[in-house]
């Protein structure tokens, strides 16, 4: 490839089930394969903020360790919504989704993605933070979103690329793609420097 030719000898693997991450990595125009890595997305209780998605990105990479070849370059990531000192994960049910969206309504939260790049003998983990300000959501708008979309695989119970992101997100300070689930610009920079 003409771009990121430093990675020509690597077989790039995205260790993620997320269709958004697949779409975003595709946007970098590099060949890669998707593999599912099954880990429980749990972390030590004392952990806060940026440490959580960085820990989970590494946990996913660790779970793939025995499948790494000499030419494997593995990308794993985790995204959390950080709101008033609490990490809002994927909602377990509709009730939790409603509560989560009520919390985000009319306020600013942080979306933090941790990303790990791992090869056979090296690892780089980093994080990217973006501020997202939500408009005041009416009960009707929350119900409409939950009736028509799927918030259950999404941290913070919303997808910025869906209707709720169109009508509800007033302002982003940072990277939109990070809010979608993968900070591609920073990732590209890290990959460009990879030796």
């Amino acid at each position: 490839m003409e771009i990121l030719s430093n990675l020509n000898n690597y077989h790039i693997i995205l260790g993620s089930q997320s269709p958004r991450r697949r779409e975003l990595l595709t946007g970098l125009n590099i060949p890669f394969e998707v593999r599912h890595i099954d880990v429980e997305e749990t972390y030590p209780e004392f952990m806060v903020g940026v440490d959580i998605p960085m820990y989970l990105a590494e946990k996913k990479a660790n779970a793939f360790a025995d499948k790494m070849h000499e030419n494997t370059l593995l990308i794993t990531a985790d995204t959390i919504v950080w709101h008033e000192g609490i990490a809002l994960g994927k909602p377990a049910n509709r009730e939790e989704a409603v509560k989560t969206l009520q919390k985000l309504s009319g306020k600013t939260h942080q979306v933090i993605t941790g990303v790990s790049i791992s090869t056979f003998d090296r690892r780089k983990t980093f994080h990217v933070i973006s501020d997202v300000r939500f408009a005041n959501l009416t009960p009707n708008e929350i119900e409409y979103y939950l009736d028509n979309f799927q918030p259950y695989d999404k941290a913070g119970a919303y997808g910025v690329q869906e209707w709720i992101g169109f009508v509800g997100v007033e302002h982003i300070n940072g990277s939109y793609y990070n809010v979608m689930g993968l900070p591609v610009q920073r990732l590209y920079n890290e990959l460009k420097r990879w030796k």
Copy 2:
């Protein structure tokens, strides 16, 4: 419709050829029709900043005036890239596209979209500004983008939703969708209030 039911009696028309605007308006989940409005995108020389896309959005609406029915709600828009006191429009050729991207490289510019909502007897025009910071683009990256993508229908010679946006846009302060060409959150708010 359950959402924006205040517009139930209107026939909504998007007066734009832009596939991005069509995609973005589709995201609001309201029925609409696309019509092409042919105007020269020229404006008075003395005009600067936000006045330019607001003027052009209204110019497009004016050009459709004789096709308006009593129940027509027309949405027109124009987007400019505002950089160091100059409006960067669509590049006429590859050389201009290279120069434009070199100007944007490593700096912050403003993307301003003007939007007009027009009915038979009323019009509301507004604008939304977003700051976009570009990473330093290498000559190789600029060439790669121009070889593989189409910047010629895009203000500022770039599409934020394309490869160049993925690898080049470091930071957005404002609305990503505005940078794509239509500030859907603000538009939704205006439509919600339409009587």
